[in-house]
């Protein structure tokens, strides 16, 4: 029988104890589902963060296919104090990918749990297992000609709804705030209990995916970005496919236009005139996702000068800011809202509107239009070619949807990134009242010096934004403990009190979002 040969152990667990656990895992899951060899584990250790791979290396990986197996795994973990890191599809790029937050954690890989349990085209919802991908759902909807539309993040073709929602990811349709559209979870607790949120606990209920709140405390949120349970099923609402869909872009020439863009957009979003998660992408996001590479313009080290950005604008027709939005509904509804939108831009006196007819199949318009209508693609990965080298970390502070705030954040981020010789590659994802200010900290991970710079840069971004009262909504595993501190001690005390109550052996993803009974207040 194969022995573990990658010389990585969970923190505080000796080899003999680990081997006992591995033998129990093999008995429970079968040899093929207990991965301990280095070549089997290497796919789980591919990261884009500015950390050493060794710091996020797993000691083993388990693949489970049933809730009962997960209960069995947790029993073994409790007996031997084995920490596990659960993944659904493992596609959390730029946030840690599939790798565990701490070296030595055993990965629980749920990709094989890939059943679409139900899609109801009348009530417009789906119930899925963790391993289901958006691509799989899209194919199913298309093959069965269901009048439904998905919402997903940019890695749509290969990522999945459960993992994305549990990390509170967002998409680009009117259903783009994914956790808001979640309805009903099944969660395996550390003690093996199987808990269903909302109406899921009512015997014979047929409203688990219909009514979110159930009765008494509503606990769904505490399982997201957290380590209190393992979600094995999740329901979510699907938007009916509209009779008419009209995507459009508005191109703005100047960096300072962001103030007026946001002021103009907010009332259109709050009123629902523009219903989807609008994107306002800066020139480098637009260029990167449109397959423009930095090396096409300069080979000088450091940040890309503004003069080059202007040259790219001139050569490509892209804007300093590029707004993507869409209208959905009947022809009458779309016509009315289109008039309101175009009147607003006319009144602003800035912005060049591009329709789908004008854009044709050009990128990045094409992929944006697909994302806003639930058609998966991976075109946005072109961003990674801008600088090359495979380094990417999302710095994603929340901003109020106020023009002056967005401008202040953009300037602050750009200044810090330039200080470290990196580029400001950003988009604002526009909700009615907030902005996810998503910045891709791109760097050459194969260059040790640049990786170190990116690491320091990310730390300074967090520090300087915190001084202004800003914090990120989500972060990669290297910086989760740091970001937890931004949200204050009372929240952390409460989170650890819950952790002690639900998972006293600290076996579920210790360190996730800074929640770890072994280290918190013990230093």
């Amino acid at each position: 029988m194969a022995e573990q040969n990658n010389a990585v152990l969970p923190k505080g667990v000796v080899q003999q104890e680990f081997n006992k656990a591995v033998e129990k895992f093999r008995t429970l899951l079968g040899e093929d589902n207990v991965l301990v060899n280095a070549d089997q584990l290497v796919p789980y250790n591919k990261i884009m963060m500015s950390a050493e791979n060794a710091d996020h290396a797993p000691s083993a990986a388990l693949t489970a296919t049933t809730v009962e197996q997960i209960q069995g795994i947790l029993k073994v973990c409790n007996e031997h104090k084995i920490p596990i890191w659960t993944i659904s599809t493992g596609r959390n790029f730029g946030y840690g990918s599939a790798a565990p937050v701490q070296r030595g954690q055993v990965i629980l890989d749920l990709k094989k749990m890939n059943k679409i349990l139900e899609i109801d085209p009348v009530m417009c919802y789906a119930l899925v297992e963790p391993g289901v991908t958006y691509g799989q759902l899209y194919d199913y909807i298309e093959e069965n000609n269901l009048p439904l539309m998905l919402s997903f993040s940019a890695p749509s073709a290969i990522a999945g709804p459960l993992g994305n929602t549990m990390d509170r990811g967002v998409g680009y349709t009117p259903y783009g705030e994914h956790f808001m559209m979640q309805c009903g979870m099944e969660v395996v607790m550390a003690n093996g209990d199987v808990y269903r949120t909302g109406m899921g606990g009512v015997e014979g209920s047929n409203t688990w995916q219909i009514f979110k709140w159930g009765y008494g405390p509503t606990l769904d949120g505490m399982f997201t970005q957290a380590n209190y349970g393992i979600t094995t099923k999740m329901g979510f609402w699907l938007m009916p496919k509209p009779p008419v869909y009209k995507p459009f872009e508005v191109i703005f020439e100047n960096e300072d236009d962001i103030t007026e863009i946001v002021e103009m957009l907010r009332p259109l979003r709050i009123s629902g005139t523009i219903p989807n998660s609008v994107v306002v992408a800066n020139i480098l996001w637009e260029a990167g996702s449109g397959n423009v590479r930095r090396s096409d313009y300069t080979t000088e080290p450091g940040h890309t000068p503004d003069s080059v950005l202007k040259k790219i604008q001139k050569d490509t027709g892209m804007g300093a800011w590029n707004l993507y939005a869409a209208l959905y509904g009947t022809k009458e509804q779309v016509d009315v809202n289109w008039k309101i939108v175009t009147d607003a831009f006319k009144k602003l006196g800035k912005g060049r509107i591009v329709t789908q007819e004008e854009a044709g199949d050009t990128q990045p318009f094409k992929y944006r239009a697909e994302l806003m209508s639930g058609v998966p693609n991976l075109q946005e990965f072109g961003l990674y070619n801008w600088r090359g080298g495979g380094g990417s970390m999302w710095f994603a502070p929340v901003s109020a949807a106020r023009g002056d705030e967005c401008k202040k954040q953009a300037r602050l981020a750009k200044r810090i990134l330039h200080k470290y010789g990196l580029d400001y590659v950003a988009e604002f994802i526009v909700a009615p009242r907030d902005m996810h200010h998503v910045i891709d900290v791109l760097y050459d991970r194969s260059n040790a010096e640049e990786k170190k710079r990116a690491d320091e840069c990310f730390g300074e971004l967090l520090d300087e934004f915190e001084k202004e009262g800003y914090a990120v909504y989500r972060v990669n595993t290297r910086f989760q403990e740091r970001v937890a501190r931004s949200y204050g001690p009372v929240k952390r005390d409460l989170e650890h009190a819950i952790k002690r109550a639900l998972d006293p052996n600290n076996i579920l993803a210790p360190g996730r979002s800074g929640i770890d009974l072994d280290t918190y207040k013990k230093v």
Binding site: D39, A157, L378, G390
Partner: protein
Amino acid sequence: MSYPLSGNTAKRMLIASIFPFALLAASAQAQNTDHDKGPWQSRWSSGEELYEKVCSQCHDPKVGVGTAIQGRVLPVEYVKFIVRNGFNAMPSFQASYIDDESIAMVAEYLSSLPAPAAQP
């Protein structure tokens, strides 16, 4: 100008409004019940399917995000190494996502495709 849905979809919506139970009957009750049928099986039924659903999303010459890989007769061991390890920004894929047999199928399929035309 706006884009109406396809005729089939529009018809379906009409049917849904008149005969809601017609769609209820079509309500998808489980698909891909791999582990209800015994041992888990790969989602990928052919190299072509895997290429179309995953690889081509970046590597199709028309997409231009990843290097074109079709028609280059890449050895299966090389394809496997890149799939498992990733390369620069290309993500790695664990065996639960793409199993060894599917990698072999996609390598064979890629070899059967013509090489993309040279760029001017």
